[in-house]
Amino acid sequence: MNTYDLIVVGAGPGGSMAAKYAADLGLKTIFFERGRKPGEKNSSGCGLGPRMWRDFPNMMRELTQEKCPSIRAGSAARNYFVNQEGTVAGYVMARPTKSVSYEPAKSWITMNCYRSEFDPWIAEFAVNAGAELKTSTLITDLLKKDGKICGVIDEHNIKYRAPIVIGADGAVSMVAKQSGLRTKWAQDQITVVPQYDFQANPEKIDDIMGDETLAVWWSAIFPASYQVFFHDGFHQGLANWLNKWDKNPLVYLNRVINLKYYQRLLRILNAKPRELQSHLLPWLKYPYNTHTDGIILVGDAGGFPCPLEAEGIYPAMVTGKAAAEVAAEAINSENFSKDFLSKFDKVWKHTSIGEEFEAGEELYNIWKALPFSPQETMTWFVPMFMEIMGGIYDWSQPHAKRVRQIASQIKSYMPNALPFIMKYVFPLVAKIFEDDLDKMMDPQKLMSALPKVLDLIPKKKKPRRDDM
């Protein structure tokens, strides 16, 4: 008899964590993967963040290059700024700053690893904990008896029974659909993410990129494009919500590849395209409909990728663990009702993921309006940013005159920048600081610093040559 305590549909990071923790808690658990092995169907989400090492230290310290040869950690990230003419107007490279509070976050920003290696690695923890993994198995429907969930069925009509099912089956979740939790995402809740993988020599990557591990290409001619470096290659991809494309997504991705600067980078890295990938990525202000009678959704299936930049693996792991714990409680209480499973929301809201979503709407809004609105926003943002960053490195005029030219140029972007700041920056700042904002913005405190500055300004205005 294929009877279990818990069924998990999906063996990505969310499903494997759910299966591992459920097995650890003594539940007879099975988890399913439609590919021949976990990770075979997955692309992207491959920059692993340090919170995984903080929250799952025993597991993550076992992630070594022996286990996952593609792994590459790096301490630096680069932001390229590409203008309307397709020129890299400048870039900023940054490392973890003084305020970063723990290791390994002080040492590196992301650990990058192909999903074809990471997902099998993480699934092994579940198998070692006693969960049964069934690969090459497409689960096609939920089993119900008297209106209650009692298992799942695969494409060959094999039935698996359990009183509770965790849907860890990704953006196009069968579990979400068949349980009535969600037929489709709204168009502004889901992005499509095409991505190229390039092969490159590991020594060349190290020589040329140093300890840079990822880059974001901010641009006026394509939605922000990310670049993630692995041991012997890198990904270049971009995303946007399904209602925001006016051309094929690949047209925009190819604009990145065809930048003169990018072509030079490919030449010096001697990089060759190796794979084309594409996937859907839920990107929401806030997860909703995460559970119902006998069902819990985790990871992408539950809409948990980060509202700012859609990091998905870590939220999948956290929600997978939370779902397993709640499932175990439900089994102990023999209560699989929607009401009982609402504990799942309480649990994840108390995690780092819950805290992330507290400002979910504001984070989502600003990100969507900035790098993902290239024509509307980046056309003024890139030149404004570069005026600030790059304007001073110029010997065309006396420096004081340059500063006035720069100030005048920046002023010309204000009709665009100020409404943006009012609409997106202020709400985010207000949300993040809440009560502290009053103290920080206290006019008396701000003014107390000002008179000394004002004393420095000459009372009489001297005539300037550029005024004449």
């Binding site: 169907k41 196009v172 859907l280």
Partner: protein, 87 residues
């Protein structure tokens, strides 16, 4: 960049994408978002390439973008379809 040779598939998927011509409103969004250009409009009829089983990346963007609910999608048979070795 040509995309030929940049994807690998295991055969035996069976059919997994279907379009209901009675529901299709010819909006063309499926054509717009398909990264491997599998959809086409010929004389106002939208259809998917006969080779889709060997070329589809299984992203399901066509299904998700279809507001007329004309496109039906389920994942291909277990162990078949797209293989990402460097995903």
């Amino acid at each position: 960049m040509k995309n030929n040779g940049l994807t690998k598939h295991t055969p035996g998927t069976g059919d997994f994408i279907f379009i209901d011509q009675n529901r299709c409103n010819r909006c063309g969004q499926c054509i717009l978002v398909c990264v491997v250009n599998l959809w086409r409009k010929i004389e106002y009829i939208i259809s998917i390439s006969e080779e889709y089983k060997e070329k589809c990346l299984e992203c399901a963007a066509c299904y998700q973008v279809c507001e007329a609910d004309a496109i039906k999608f389920h994942y291909p048979s277990g162990g078949t379809g797209i293989i990402y070795e460097k995903g």
